[in-house]
Amino acid sequence: MDPLAGRTKDELEEWMGKDPLKILEKKLLHDGLTKAELMKIDEGINEKILDAVEFAKKSDYPTWNLMLKSFTN
């Protein structure tokens, strides 16, 4: 299915320009953060995600009681 079937290319570009992550990045750079500092934040986030994936793959399936703990006090 054509992802552009319901909208024009211009409309798509207009909305891509409103990407909140890119806008925040621009604002932070404007406010005095350096590119190196931004990159460090990005790397930190990636590392956290990769660690979480690794942890999930190594772990056993959760137990019934562990699940219940997340539901009841």
Partner: protein, 327 residues
């Protein structure tokens, strides 16, 4: 003529929509991604091509607006069939579905009819997480004026959907995603299945198992296992919850003296609670054993496969519980 044609549950629903739209040009379809994309489960496959965008309409992601627009269209003579993508999302349109649709006739002193059919699928038993696996038919049993169907076979799916669409009353049509690929006999010729008529799927003497939708095929397997152990199990499928075929349920209880209700929704306040109350009111003297409910525990559905296995009603749980009350 009748032949042995077998088609899937999802194909049966698609055929019902197509045939009804051929029969009556006032029938229109509305829903999220049902036209160009043909529905997330492809239930509306081919219908945009056949009937065009005037009658097969993609809508914004706004369930309350979809049902509201359908009510308005129905008051002016159309017969809208709405698809809500997941049963969970019925909560998004509860205002129109509960506060308006089933009250139109009553509030107008019988002058207005709102023949809207709302279809949705429920996904309990699938690994789609707690917000996309809910099944709560009992909510809507508590709403007078809304007919509710929950077919367990391709035959009933096609016949009940046709009845819902032809009815002048609003209907909620609950499809089971786990049954979409189930195959079964569906005749070539036109037929309908009436609301308010339970089906005895297996004949039996010792106990009646009233099963709903997804749990019907499980109950049938359990009855076969128990037959080998000398226990004769009747399996009864109510097919619709509103209206409910109370007489068939009471007759089955009077005949067997034991009632097990198995349902793929949470036990507390579920359909089984209502059935148990009806039996307590009208046939308690016929019971030789406590009523047993085999439902899901009162927690949201887990995602993790081993947890989900333990969460669901199963054939094994049915066999175990039935043996306890029959022996």
């Amino acid at each position: 003529m009748a032949g042995n044609r077998e088609i899937t549950y999802s194909k049966a629903i698609n055929e019902a929509l197509r045939e009804e739209m051929e029969r009556d040009e006032n029938i229109i379809l509305m829903g999220e991604d049902i036209a160009v994309f043909e529905g997330v489960y492809k239930i509306t496959r081919g219908l945009l091509d056949r009937f065009g965008p005037e009658r097969v309409r993609d809508t914004p992601i706004s369930e309350n607006a979809i049902v509201g627009a359908a009510i308005g269209a129905s008051l002016l003579g159309l017969r809208p069939v709405v698809e809500i993508m997941y049963m969970d999302f019925l909560n998004e349109c509860a205002d129109q579905l509960v506060n308006h649709l089933p009250k139109m006739r009553f509030m107008s002193g019988g002058k207005l009819e709102a023949p809207v059919t709302v279809r949705c699928q429920y996904s309990v038993g699938r690994n789609t997480g707690a917000q996309h696996t809910q099944f709560f038919p009992a909510f809507y049993m508590n709403v007078p004026g809304l007919n509710i169907a929950l077919p367990s076979t391709p035959y009933d799916a096609k016949g009940l959907l046709k009845s819902a669409i032809r009815s002048g009353a609003p209907s909620l049509f609950l499809e089971c995603a786990k049954l979409y690929n189930l195959k079964g006999h569906v005749p070539d010729e036109d037929y309908t299945v009436p609301f308010g008529s339970a089906k005895k799927i297996v004949e039996g003497e010792d106990v009646v198992v009233m099963a709903l939708s997804l749990t019907v095929p499980m109950a049938v397997s359990a009855s076969e296992k128990l037959r080998k152990k000398g226990i004769s199990v009747m399996v009864l499928d109510p097919r619709t919850l509103s209206p409910l075929d109370k007489d068939s349920i009471l007759d089955a209880v009077k005949k067997t003296g034991r009632l097990v209700i198995t349902e793929p929704d949470c036990k507390t306040g579920g359909v089984g609670a209502e059935i148990s109350a009806i039996v307590a009111e009208e046939a308690i003297d016929y019971l030789d054993a406590p009523v047993i409910r085999i439902a899901t525990p009162d927690i949201p559905s887990p995602f993790s496969p081993p947890l989900l296995d333990r969460y669901m009603p199963t054939e094994e749980k049915m066999v175990e519980e039935i043996e306890k009350i029959v022996r």
